[in-house]
């Protein structure tokens, strides 16, 4: 039921895709990014403190050192709470909706739930990102006014940015559930 194949993101970093089948109508995909490594943390901290010490030797004001400590601490807290996303989860429940959760490194969770009535389709899209073309999975939302139109495109796994092979696996499972939904739901 649970397997954990490893994929890589667009920059080559390792990603773990965890897939849980709760029932035929409910599936969860969990993409985990690597945790914050001690090496990069040490490197950044040392750089900031060395720079502060260099400034201190130039102007001999001890305020600079305490400011550097505070900046490092606040920066680390802000990075963990607002920037670093450890895990991204896509929960798709037949006839109920699709839920996207991103868990930050500090434990904060940010959840968006889209009702199935608003979902038009789940597709894989291409986009130009910096100097390369990347693929991403996105949810197309129905336009409430015009039944065939698309009102919004909601990208999934925005921070992990997995490669196409991982996206295809998630896409196939989503389409299975959506197809089941389409055959059973009352036609408008």
């Amino acid at each position: 039921m649970e397997d954990e194949p490893s994929f890589s993101d667009i920059c080559g970093g390792r990603l773990a895709l965890q897939r849980r089948d709760y029932s035929p109508s409910c599936r969860e995909f969990c993409l985990s990014c690597p945790r914050l490594s001690l090496r990069s943390l040490t490197a950044v901290t040392c750089t900031v403190w060395l720079a502060a010490y260099g400034l201190f030797t130039l102007c001999e004001n001890s305020m600079i050192l305490s400011a550097a400590i505070f900046i490092t601490l606040l920066g680390l807290l802000g990075y963990l709470h607002f920037v670093k996303i450890d895990q991204e989860t896509l929960l798709i429940i037949d006839s109920l909706g699709i839920q996207m959760t991103s868990s930050y490194a500090s434990g904060k969770e940010c959840t968006t739930f889209i009702e199935m009535g608003k979902v038009k389709d789940v597709v894989i899209n291409e986009a130009v990102y910096m100097q390369k073309v990347i693929y991403y999975l996105c949810i197309l939302l129905k336009d409430p006014v015009e039944p065939n139109g698309i009102s919004q495109v909601v990208p999934v796994f925005q921070s992990a940015k997995p490669r196409l092979d991982c996206l295809i696996e998630v896409y196939r499972s989503c389409q299975e559930i959506l197809a089941h939904q389409k055959t059973t739901s009352p036609s408008p």
Binding site: C26, L91, L96, E115, T184, P186
Partner: protein, 669 residues
């Protein structure tokens, strides 16, 4: 067992004096109370529940009666029967978490055929009489316009599995016909749930009743009832017929729970004919303080509304709208703030009831921001009036003004020499410098004339802080404007001179090129000038060009001073606007009761076992703080900067006057 048939949960808690003991009651007690109901510890209550014992104990003989009764009332459920969804779709049962530990009984709720979801609202306990249950549902339907029905049965197996109860619960399906008929069952352990949904009416394979796939969604009834979905779906009027499913799937669930408040009014200590289990069944939530406030708010509002209408009538008096006064009013930010405060108070104390939650929230926000403002103002007042701080302030004010004037004098003298090594036109420089020096002298004498009265003026102005910190800040901004009036004057003179020169230069430059400005057509036309015209024009152009740097220097210096004052005033206005427009009540609600303002829902998959229905926990997803502020921001008093940066620079370059305040004429444009 007395009747030979075991009815677990039937005897439990049927007598109000046994309410405390929800655990398994000893068999002896049960038989006793059933055999001789009048001999119970409290005779009256047991007599009341006496007839209801009939149903379970004598299902056989009275079944005919019951079925007839059911047929008579079944018309109620007809409407919901007709619209059943296509079979095969996953059926969602929304079940309140507070009922998970309730005793066995009937599930009461609403069936939403479009979503194929059943919203369970409460559990009706044994013993009951079907007709009374239906009467209750009809009452709730009348009060709330929500089509409630008995959706199925709820079975909570506390002890060993009893076969008979299962048969009895199945039998109930015949009395309360509903399509589909839910059979929810919880085993002894807390994790084993089973749920069956059977349809009798349209079996795809004739013969066996068809079973749907079921998904159980638990929700916290209290939170769902109290929360408010954002953005608010445009729900139909409450008076409209019960076609409410136009809202989206989950909005319909929220709407159903919010509307059937009438169902939740009775707790288990009430002696109603039907005993329900829901979020308030352990006791209705109420607060004495809230009730008292509700009672008191009516007369207080009427009184204050009368007072406010008197004040607004007085302020609309004709004397205040005469020319000089109305001009002064339009320039003072205190008047603007007072008008805004009056509007706010009128809104808060209006005797009309808020129509929708948005208006209610707005009223509460205004009330909280006014209260906070007045509290801050009073704190400021007490700080000012303690230890003779006003006197110190007044004593410090005159030297500061003197000092500013002195500095300005030095500045002017510096400008009259060779400022920053620039060589100016000496004659023009001297004229301008003397003119400004004289003006400064006038100003200093004016300040000295005022100095004996400043303390008294400040004392009276300090009293305005009891109307709120915003009023005090507006007064401060006005005082700054009055005290720096000389800077304003210098700026206006400088700007006018500079503007004149720029205009002259631009029109003479056109003459130089043999063109002219056509006023009628609003464009530049070519024109043939005479020789002497050209000569005079060129001469004047030269003179203006050589005099421009002197004027521009004065203009630049005084514009910078003016911008400094405008920036200080702008900051004060920004602070006032912040206090006026911040939705403090909504923010507090978001902080302390996150479920009240819901952006949506989130689901958590509960522990799952193969072969059992999927169980989900529905939680409220609170609105982010940014969206709270964005949604509930109160309108400020309209002291926004009128210029964009580009237009400001343009105006500064061409020497047009800039004002910090918004002209009243502009507002109507």
């Amino acid at each position: 067992m007395g009747g030979g048939v075991g009815w677990p949960g039937v005897g439990v808690g049927q007598c109000p004096c046994e309410m405390g003991s929800w655990g398994p009651v000893s068999l002896h007690d049960q038989t006793q109370s059933r055999a001789a109901p009048t001999h119970g510890p409290c005779g009256r209550a047991c007599m009341k529940s006496g007839p209801s014992v009939v149903l379970p104990a004598a299902l056989g003989p009275s079944a005919v009666v019951v079925v007839v009764v059911a047929a008579a009332v079944a018309a109620l459920d007809r409407a919901s029967l007709l619209s059943s969804s296509v079979p095969g779709m996953v059926l969602k049962a929304f079940f309140p978490t507070c009922c998970a530990s309730a005793d066995s009984g009937l599930l009461v709720g609403r069936w939403v055929p479009e979503q194929s979801s059943a919203v369970v609202l409460a559990v009706v306990h044994f013993p009951f009489i079907p007709i009374q249950v239906k009467e209750l549902l009809a009452q709730v339907h009348q009060a709330s316009r929500v089509g409630l029905a008995v959706l199925g049965t709820w079975c909570h197996r506390r002890q060993e599995a009893e076969e008979s109860l299962g048969h009895f619960l199945e039998g109930l399906g015949a009395i309360f016909s509903h399509e589909p008929w839910l059979q929810l069952c919880r085993e002894r352990g807390s994790k084993l749930w089973s749920c069956k949904a059977t349809r009798r009416q349209v079996p795809p394979h004739p013969g066996a009743p068809y079973e749907d796939q079921v998904m159980l969604v638990f929700y916290d009834q209290r939170k769902v009832l109290l929360s408010q979905l954002h953005p608010p779906a445009d729900l139909p009027d409450r008076q409209a017929a019960d076609a409410t499913a136009s809202a989206g799937g989950l909005a319909a669930v929220f709407d159903t729970v919010a509307r059937s408040e009438a169902l939740f009014r009775s707790d288990r200590f009430d002696e109603g004919p039907v005993r329900l289990s829901h979020w308030q069944s352990e006791g209705v939530e109420a607060s004495i303080l809230a009730e008292l406030a509700k009672r008191a708010s009516g007369p207080v509002c009427v009184l204050l509304a009368c007072l406010l209408s008197l004040i607004s009538a007085a302020s609309a008096c004709r004397v205040f709208t005469l020319w000089p006064l109305s001009f002064v009013w339009s320039k003072l930010s205190v008047c603007e703030q007072l008008r805004h405060r009056l509007e706010q108070l009128t809104l808060v104390f209006s005797t009309q009831k808020a129509e929708n939650p948005t208006q209610l929230m707005r009223k509460a926000n205004v009330l909280v921001s006014v209260l906070l403002d007045v509290a801050l103002g009073l704190a400021l007042l007490s700080w000012l009036h303690g230890k003779d701080r006003i006197g110190q302030l007044a004593e410090a004010l005159v030297p500061v003004a003197d000092h500013v004037a002195e500095e300005l004098q030095h500045l002017l003298q510096w400008l009259m020499g060779a400022p920053a090594g620039l060589k100016m036109n000496r004659a023009l420089d001297q004229v301008l410098g003397r003119f400004f020096l004289y003006h400064l002298h006038l100003w200093i004498s004016y300040i000295h004339l005022m100095s004996p009265f400043i303390e008294r003026i400040l004392w009276h102005v300090g009293l305005s802080a009891c109307l709120g910190l915003t009023v005090a800040l507006s007064v401060l901004s006005d005082i700054i404007a009055l005290l720096t009036f000389h800077i304003y004057c210098f700026y206006v003179y400088g700007a006018r001179l500079y503007c004149l020169k720029i205009c002259g230069l631009s029109s003479l430059w056109r003459l130089f090129r043999g063109k002219k400005w056509n006023v009628l057509r609003q464009r530049v036309d070519s024109c043939s000038y005479d020789l002497d015209q050209l000569f005079i024009g060129t001469l004047l152009f030269t003179i203006l060009v050589f005099l421009l740097p002197t004027t521009a220097l004065y203009y630049l210096v005084f514009t910078l001073l003016r911008l400094l004052v405008v920036a200080v005033q702008g900051l004060t206005h920004l602070l006032v606007d912040l206090i006026n427009s911040l939705p403090l009540y909504s923010l507090g609600l978001r902080l302390c009761r996150p479920y009240r303002l819901a952006a949506g829902v989130k689901f958590r998959v509960l522990e799952h076992e193969a072969g059992r229905p999927l169980r989900l926990l529905m939680q409220i997803n609170p609105l982010p703080y940014g969206r709270v502020v964005h949604t509930y921001r109160l309108p400020g008093c309209g002291c926004h900067p009128t210029h964009s940066w580009g237009s400001l620079c343009r105006k500064l370059f061409f020497g047009e006057l800039i004002y910090p305040w918004r002209q009243r004429g502009d507002k109507q444009d």
